[in-house]
Amino acid sequence: MASGAPLDVQRIRADFPILSRQVNGHTLTYLDNAATSQKPTQVIQSLVDYYERYNSNVHRGVHTLSIEATEAYEDARGKVQRFINAPSPESIIWTRNTSESLNLVAYTWAEANVGAGDEIVTTAMEHHSDIVPWQQLAYRKGATLKIIRETETGRLDMEQAAEFITERTKIVAATHMSNVLGTVNDVKALADAVHRVGGVMLVDGAQSVPHMPVDVQALDCDFMAFSAHKMLGPTGIGVLYGKPEILEVMPPWMFGGDMILEVTFEDASWNDLPYRFEAGTPNIADAIATGAAVDYLAELGMDRVWAHEQQITAYALDKFKDLNGITLLGPREVEDKGAVISFSHDSVHSHDLGTALDQLGIAIRTGHHCAMPLVRSHGIISAARASFYIYNTEAEVDILVDGLNEAEEYFSKAGIL
């Protein structure tokens, strides 16, 4: 496909069987992509192929099926490696999801390298899965957790970041893109700052890797975590990227088959990377399907994916200006903002809005978005969120806006405005 040309969204939509589903008498308008994306036929079919044709355990047998399964499984690792421009396949560790990737770092690298009096720096925009592991680490170690706040325009306060990152900082853990505000953070600047003081940079890429070109070497991050299910892949599988020289000396976490080199009744030695961090039979089918998802995105081109999402976000931000009673969270303009629009209504709770939109076949997220501290810092306990992906159209933004107007009218008649 020509690079730079806009995505052929109608052709993309034809690859997603679920998009023709009827919900409450309306064609589904799926706007909950920051929670999980839908899956194209190519990904679904790769799961079926595996189970129908070469289902087998990996790294174990000499028979044909096992060889095919192992090849496909390792092939998928290579696809992910190239997708984020990691230096080697060994730097890609399969996990269950972003949360497990983040916990892996907290329980291995951080457990070995963070001590009493050390500091961990994170941000006010993190998902619970990038806050709670660091809180628990700080309790265990007697370390201090510092939180970089959000500015009034929904950006990260980089002046405060410069203040917080000091000789005592061992690790900075920051989201590349906020799942609530949509803000894209300058994680390269944070990485540079923490490297100057000898610490490491961990990036939560759950919302960025599915939506924009991500190059872990250009960002110079030491770790990056993300999940397959938000980028057209199946649930139950995620990735931890780590710089090879760091992974090489990092202690293992879970023990068992595949991660050992040699075992006696008294002791064991550890296998090479990345298997040292992949104990037990891995999630073979979903890893292979993640490879199919990455193929699909790479074929589209991530710069075109990003351009499509910028366009639809700009369109939605403009349409939202005319809505009554709606307050947006995060940046009001598309610069440094991904395809996530969170909002609250002055008098209608987000769940009531969400139920009304569901009646119209529109799926949005409502609630605290697993970011309670951030949502509460905006003086609310709950927000609604529409998030877009490669198959969403401006017509669907119009459906959302019409739906919000209809809901407003309904609740106004009901007397709760």
Partner: protein
């Protein structure tokens, strides 16, 4: 444009909307016999409940909080039937209400006992909202256990 929101009327009955707009019994008690904060971890809705006892009976109940129309209106509606009841009678009401939410067939007498809370029957058709309706009732159960442990 054809309105697709008509089915919502079953959920948002007038009596529920009335309690959402003007919640009853929200004044905090000075010396509650029991006090509970309940939070729905999935959505963050909050209910603060206080009980004042007069001997064996719930003399006064106060409910306040933040959240959706269903969770907040249920809390207000609940206060109207729980006042004056003994802890065991209140627990029996909770069982009836839970039965109502789970789609059990209640007798006319049982429905009468729930009074206006019967208006929440429509929540059944929106299963994901049932937990909103049960938040205050589970707060009540915890508050009752503090004054009179279930036998």
């Amino acid at each position: 444009m054809q309105s697709g929101l008509g089915d919502l009327d079953e959920l948002y009955q007038e009596v529920l909307l009335d309690h959402y707009r003007n919640p009853r019994n929200t004044d905090r008690l000075e010396e509650p016999a029991s006090e509970v904060d309940a939070v729905n971890p999935f959505c963050g809705d909050e209910i603060h409940m206080q009980l004042g006892m007069d001997g064996e009976r719930v003399a006064k109940i106060s409910v306040s909080g933040q959240g959706c129309s269903i969770s907040q209106a249920t809390g207000s509606l609940l206060t109207e039937i729980v006042e004056g009841k003994t802890p065991d009678e209140a627990r029996a009401l909770r069982e009836l209400f839970r039965g109502l939410m789970m789609g059990e067939d209640l007798t006319d007498d049982q429905l009468d006992e729930l009074e206006d809370s019967v208006a929440l029957q429509g929540v059944r058709r929106f299963p994901v909202r049932i937990k909103c309706a049960l938040l205050s009732w589970s707060a009540l159960s915890d508050a009752l256990d503090k004054v009179a442990p279930a036998g």
